[in-house]
Subunit: 509 residues, 2 copies
């Protein structure tokens, strides 16, 4: 049987650009994983690791023009967005290099013996070690930031774990280019290139999650695909952690007072957020609770104007376009659902943005309206009009887990006069990030970031963006009664590496 070709496709035309590679066979996946596993020791030294991450960032920076051109040809996301995304990706690699140098992620804890404790405490010294080879499943919608050199790869390498990346079929040519940059950066630090593997093909992704030497996985994609891989990870003879980001509705609640105060600003802001990147962000606001009455009407007018003015756009691939068109058709067919701006096909290869409205009480019914509480990828959102706050919170209580939950408050509510704190408390169980008077799109790379949330937002309690993403690829090991001569340097009393730690119960920084 001939190997299946992997084509780079132009989503603006649906035409094949070039054959990039062939799909990896089970044997090739095995080879990639074994190669990565064999060289894991090359990442043991933290100074080497951080230098490698910085070289990777520099390499991507240097290759910017060609990378952006290829990325645009395969994703149609446009050079401006892609240049920004690449800069973010480089920033992220450097941020993880800093995290590696600081070493707080090692979570060093040292306890001297205490014969008086119950039971007695021997000499115990704990730090964290890398899990092993990490499988990274690239996302369609972030060809740089959540793909070959994205957050999963950066955090795994920072943790000391080699990676084998499963390329996304929407940008195979870019994946090859980025992998080459990473492998060259490794070589510059005498790290074998096999610390970064790359495979193509659906079946290769399935093989990867089942490989005995794969120790953990990171995934960004759909609920269906992510759940299948999560299930496979859990069903292994030796189950492994699966950190998947699957799907999110990202509800927004607009209070009556906020609508009265800033209807036009909120409507325009919502239009910008839901159509950004042709609605292909995992944190796109997909359900917006807007009060009935004059303020809400003004908000809708502003939203209608702004969405009407939005150009048609190209989605990442034609399957997504088909899914988008099917999704909006299904929603439009529901009774009491209206579309002030009808989302749908633009030209032959584009889609046009739009939104639906529905009375909020429909969303607390069992049955067909449930689809309105599911993510629809693309430039569309659902505006649910509520008559009182109780109705709005009843809708919120029916939502599955989310990456984000947002609220638009009036200045009085934001100042603590009114129900602002109660609303924040109602939103907190729904999501991993709660946003006030801003839009959820735009996920900053920062220590305090959390990009995760109750299932199906993510399959674990971890984050895939921000400094703490490194925690996913580590496990603690404690050394008991171990002579100083044999201890890892991280665990020595005199702290020669200057690590933040907990020493005999006291936090030291």
């Amino acid at each position: 049987m001939a190997a299946a070709p992997v084509w780079s496709v132009d989503p603006r035309t649906g035409k094949r650009r070039e054959q990039v590679a062939v799909e990896a066979t089970a044997e090739e996946v095995d080879t990639a994983v074994r190669a990565a596993h064999a060289v894991r020791g090359a990442l043991a030294d933290r100074a080497v690791r951080s230098a490698f991450l910085r070289s990777a960032a520099a390499g991507l920076d240097a290759a910017r023009d060609g990378l952006v051109e290829t990325a645009d040809a395969e994703t149609a996301l446009g050079p401006v967005r892609l240049t920004g995304e690449l800069a973010r990706t480089c920033y992220q690699l450097r941020a993880f290099a800093d995290i590696v140098d600081e070493g707080a992620f090692l979570d060093v804890v040292i306890d001297h013996p205490d014969a008086g404790a119950t039971p007695p405490v021997p000499d115990l010294r704990r730090h964290k070690v890398p899990l092993g080879v990490v499988a990274v499943y690239s996302a369609s919608n972030f060809p740089f930031a959540f793909s070959v050199a994205g957050g999963d790869t950066a955090s795994a390498l920072a943790a000391g774990c080699p990676v084998v990346v499963k390329a996304h079929p929407d940008h195979p040519a870019l994946s090859e280019l980025v992998a080459k940059v990473l492998r060259r950066a490794a070589a510059a630090h005498v790290i074998p290139a096999d610390v970064v593997g790359l495979v193509h093909g659906f079946e290769a992704g399935v093989e990867l999650i089942g490989h005995p030497l794969v120790a953990a996985a990171g995934f960004t994609g759909s609920v269906r695909g992510g759940r299948a891989l999560f299930d496979a990870a859990a069903a292994r003879p030796v189950p492994i952690p699966f950190h998947g980001e699957l799907g999110s509705l990202n509800p927004v609640l607009v209070t009556e007072a906020a609508a009265a105060e800033r209807a036009e600003e909120i409507g325009a802001g919502l239009a910008g957020s839901m159509t950004l990147g042709v609605g292909q962000f995992c944190v796109k606001p997909g359900l917006v609770l807007v009060p009935s009455g004059a303020g809400g009407d003004r908000l809708l007018k502003s939203l209608t104007d702004a969405v009407s003015d939005t150009d048609a756009g190209v989605l990442l691939d034609h399957r997504m376009r088909d899914d988008f068109l099917a999704g909006v058709r299904e929603r439009a067919a529901l009774a009491d659902v209206e579309s002030p701006v009808t989302p749908g096909a633009g030209g032959e290869h584009t889609v046009s943005a739009g939104f639906f409205t529905v009375p909020a009480d429909r969303l607390t019914e069992e049955g067909a309206y449930g689809v309105l509480l599911e993510e629809c990828f693309g430039p569309v959102t659902v505006v649910a009009r509520y008559t009182d706050e109780e109705q709005a919170t009843a809708v919120l209580s029916r939502l599955p887990g989310n990456l984000t939950a947002s609220v638009q408050l009036s200045s009085r509510e934001a100042a603590g006069q009114g129900r602002g704190a109660d609303l924040l408390a109602a939103l907190t169980p729904l999501a991993g990030r709660v946003v006030v008077n801003a839009w959820p799109t735009g996920v900053a790379v920062a220590p305090a970031q959390h990009h995760g949330g109750p299932y199906p937002a993510t399959t674990s309690t971890s984050t895939s963006v921000g400094g703490t993403a490194i925690e996913r690829w580590l496990r603690p090991v404690t050394y008991q009664n171990t002579p100083t001569a044999l201890l890892p340097r991280e665990l020595l009393d005199d702290n020669p590496l200057g690590l933040p730690r907990r020493f005999n119960g006291v936090l030291e920084r």
Copy 2:
């Protein structure tokens, strides 16, 4: 259908002591979980939570004599061990109260806005919030420390999560008594007693893991039972974290130089560790690599003498006794397996300790000898005689994951002259705790403790003993652009609660 009775049984006689309760129906499990969920807000205040934990410890201390008597009647573990285990349990509750007060577990991270970052960083403030109702599955072998008021319960309550405990059938009467103490301690702080639920019965345990309002689970028990519950947790419509401790062989490597230097001490120490608590510790050394030759022979002589002198003991229940006898019969039947002291039935209700020897090269064969690499609960261990270090490390490389891995080194090796560091590096991938010149039994409650390891030791990378056990029951939430008036007090710039945190990138302690 009449409710199934739950009997308290005396393992010394196999006779029923009394009917303690009835097995919970699905409806009763639902009621317990809903009740716990409904009162979760009562644990929101950290000061109340830590006071509750201290009162629980005081309540257990005060009830000590009756608790130990009941525990001994149901488990035959003896008053000395049980008194110590209860003290450990109280110490653990108080340690978690201190952890709650300190607040480092909240992992507070605050980033002020930075318009110059790529992409720009808005105001972001992260801390951790409780997951919700935690299901706790009690262990047979630690009626106090890993049961109703054990580490899972203590850490979950410390995290702010109500618990519903599934009692172990080996100590239902004690479970009821301990639950009463906890519920009384809650009431003393005006916390509704339903923050601690208790259910009995196998089916109740299955119902519990599937309940939509159960947010996470902790388990200590067998590979078979634990894996079934892990699979059920992963198969839920909304999967939940399952922190299970399932099984561990706890290998020990004795170097030739160590045997030459301390053969008698090591043999006697091994005998003590493997027979402690009638071999019913999850960290019992179950495989010991001993060099062939004179030093190893002396070690075996010492082991033989000490194990021969060990009294027969009562196991926790008669099913365990049956399993132990079947397990030792299966191992004894293998060719080349000898038993210098034959383990087996003692009296009608007891078992006698023993051990097997086998040439180490047998353990690198496929097939029947694999059983020697599986845990056998009870007072038995396997001594594998190796002819060179390569053979010993070949055996180690075949082992599944472990809670502990130990090495006995000579004084020269311990001083860093020789292969000590290499051996530690070879043991580290095998386990969550590496022990040098000591025995793995005895798990101190301390910040640096790690009680977990690669599967099947545990089903996650977390620990069930020590301060970081609290991390299992929390998830991060980030507040973005949130007005000061609406922020949780934990996230205010001026740090009114005095929490350790990361503030604009800098660790503050």
